[in-house]
């Protein structure tokens, strides 16, 4: 099997380092701990189509990161791109918005089960911060209960005390509880009676570096009741899961109704906008808040959103990615077992998390992922992966072939764990 060469990527990265801090900053770059070792990974793309992207050196990758989520229908989806092109003929970023903003809001209200209204922004983090402001404005309270390990963006309130740039006042009104621990949550509410504005969580627990956990069967129902009894706004951060579990919202998927739901990623198949959906009773609070940005009401991303959501509904993309994810993860488990490797799969199949558990350092997992990437299957080390609906059975078969060879390499290279015979 061919092993990738990244000569052109490395040259471009050298250029980038001279003029851009860290070369590629943020989670797409090699310094965030999800691309270990960096030399196994390509740095820049030259083109993308469907389930693939190609790097500068011409290497093709079956892409299981999907741009960290936005790619749900396949890169360069013809229907989404055509809608954008058509809108661009009329205009994009203008002084007053186009009416496709209303069309999109109506489509969201019609699609997302809990939604009575839609407030648009650009990034997922815009909507999680807005959700807290809505909750505080509506309740007149100041505290927020968050689940340890959950990611809600990069705003100061989402980060930990001691992180660079974070001061005590940024997080002083945060209360942290463990995932799936209803009793702890109930205690936190009791200890902060009439002070908690919002409980925010992802619909299931999908932090990086650890096995993901689904909600206990009664968890969300009990949380919903607790929030209702205590006048606490229940906000779901559906930025990552949104439209990959159910087009109706992940709260609907798990059988409860949230007060606020934050969407981004899969909304526009890569065209950038985000949305906070809410229930009617919170609409006045949302209206009262000053919260905006230069590009937030641009029309081209809205055109993408309309085309994307319509296509998700038309083809049943949420079911497709779940099914493809099940096929892939089942195959990966079987191939791993064949080599005597303990590969743990967790989370939902459309955005599964995986970890080789044969050492406690994740070292072997990092080696295996690197071997897969060098052979054209793009995983990252410790983030959940993503499925898009353009993935084919042939792509899954190719992935399993690569995984098989990569397992053989790491088994051979780690005799202290797997024995000399592998």
């Amino acid at each position: 099997m061919n092993i990738n060469n990244y000569k052109k990527s490395e040259e471009a990265f050298g250029r980038a380092l001279r003029v851009i801090p860290t070369g590629i900053h943020g989670h797409l770059g090699p310094a965030e701990g999800c691309m270990i070792p960096p030399s196994a990974f390509p740095r820049f793309a030259s083109k993308a189509k469907g389930a693939y992207f190609w790097d500068l050196d011409g290497n093709r990758f079956v892409d299981y990161m999907c741009a960290y989520g936005p790619n749900i229908l396949g890169y360069n989806d013809p229907d989404v791109d055509a809608a954008v092109q058509e809108q661009l003929q009329s205009g994009n970023c203008t002084t007053v918005p186009f009416t496709n903003m209303i069309d999109l809001a109506e489509l969201l209200v019609d699609t997302v089960d809990m939604a009575d209204w839609a407030f648009f922004a650009k990034n997922g983090g815009d909507t999680t911060s807005m959700a807290l402001m809505v909750a505080k404005a509506a309740t007149g309270r100041k505290k927020t209960i968050l689940v340890k390990g959950n990611y809600h963006g990069v705003a100061p309130w989402t980060q930990v005390l001691g992180a660079p740039g974070i001061v005590e006042e940024d997080v002083t009104n945060n209360i942290y509880v463990d995932w799936n621990n209803y009793e702890q949550l109930e205690r936190a509410v009791e200890e902060n009676k009439d002070e908690v504005a919002c409980f925010m969580s992802t619909p299931y627990w999908h932090p990086v570096f650890v096995d993901n956990e689904l909600p206990e069967p009664s968890y969300w129902k009990r949380v919903r009741d607790l929030c209702t009894r205590n006048g606490i706004v229940l906000a779901v951060d559906d930025v990552r899961c949104g439209f990959r579990l159910s087009e109706k919202g992940s709260d609907h998927y798990y059988g409860f109704k949230a007060d606020l739901v934050c969407f981004c990623k899969a909304l526009g198949n890569g065209y950038n906008f985000s949305v906070l959906c809410g229930i009617d009773v919170l609409k006045d609070a949302a209206s009262s808040i000053t919260y905006t940005g230069s590009y937030w009401l641009s029309a081209a991303p809205f055109a993408a959103g309309i085309a994307c959501i319509n296509k998700i509904r038309e083809i049943g993309a949420d079911s497709i990615v779940m099914d493809l994810g099940s096929q892939l993860t089942q195959g990966l488990s079987e191939v791993a077992s064949k080599h005597g490797v303990d590969l743990r799969i967790s989370g939902e199949p459309s955005m599964w998390y995986m970890r080789i558990a044969d050492d406690d350092s994740l070292d072997i997992h990092q080696q295996w992922v690197a071997e897969c990437v060098k052979r054209g299957v793009f995983f990252t080390n410790h983030h959940n992966l993503f499925i898009n609906s353009a993935l084919s059975r042939a792509d899954i078969d190719f992935t399993l072939e690569v995984a098989d060879e990569a397992f053989a390499v790491v088994v051979k290279n780690n005799p202290q764990v797997y024995g000399k015979g592998g």
Binding site: I24, P30, I36, V160, F209
Partner: protein, 251 residues
């Protein structure tokens, strides 16, 4: 924001502790204390304590207890920090007639250590000096991770939540530190580990020097694999956050 108590811990358990390393790797330092056999205790009210024991050209740093023929007392962490800055004097509780060591050999050791830790461009042109300066700077940064992660009010939550296991901070084929959390604190030891759960490895002394002196940022170093990460990344992420805080104290 520097916390006075944390700074006192750094001045004692990092800077004074490094005299032990200085006497191990620098011939001038060894010769300065070659004929001395003396222990000096440092005791800070509401702060840390330690003993520096000199014998036959070697130095041993003993953490947490102030014993010796010379015993120096400081009425507060501020007082101790001022002594390290050279703007205050200790209160000798014992060994009044041995204070010559403090004003002689010990003072010269301190000056030598400062020269390594705050080197001039001229000194750095010498490759041997540069290597030793880098090694001592690595120990300084590494030891300070332990103090910041244990004492600093903003950072002890990060240190206290460090996952179980050993983290190696090392230069390939060079000096190595092992960091781990015990019941009380974040411990930093100068040794190697065959069973580390995570590692930060500088590819060579030049890369270590570049990053420790701020000529290259850690993210760029990682991207270029001049700093290689391996293993359980959440531990390294916490070390990275603590190192950021360390840099505030060591400025």
């Amino acid at each position: 924001m520097k916390d006075t108590l944390t700074l006192a811990h750094i001045n004692m358990n990092v800077i004074l502790r490094n005299i032990e390393n200085l006497c191990r790797i620098d011939e001038t330092a060894k010769s300065l204390v070659a004929s001395d056999d003396i222990a000096i205790g440092f005791r800070v009210k509401n702060g840390p304590s330690c003993t520096l024991r000199f014998s036959k050209g070697e130095c041993e740093f003993i953490r947490g207890t102030a014993r010796g023929r010379v015993l120096l007392y400081f009425k507060s962490p501020d007082h101790f920090n001022a002594m390290v800055e050279g703007t205050a004097n200790p209160i000798p509780l014992r060994g009044l007639f041995k204070l010559g060591f403090l004003t002689g050999a010990f003072k010269e050791l301190s000056a030598l250590l400062e020269r390594y830790l705050r080197p001039s461009d001229e000194d750095l042109a010498d490759p041997v000096f540069r290597t030793m300066s880098t090694e001592l700077t690595l120990y300084t940064a590494g030891y300070a991770i332990g103090e910041v992660g244990t004492v600093d009010p903003m950072s002890k939550g990060i240190g206290g939540s460090m996952p179980t296991g050993e983290i190696v901070l090392e230069v390939a084929n060079g000096p190595s530190l092992v960091i781990y959390r015990d019941d009380k604190r974040l411990v930093v030891e100068r040794r190697r580990s065959d069973s580390s759960r995570a590692a930060m490895t500088f590819s060579d002394m030049d890369s270590a020097f570049a990053m420790l002196t701020g000529t290259i940022d850690s993210y760029s170093a990682i991207a270029q694999e001049r700093l290689r990460l391996r293993g359980f990344v959440p531990m390294l992420d916490k070390i990275d956050k603590l190192l950021f805080k360390v840099s505030e104290y060591l400025k």
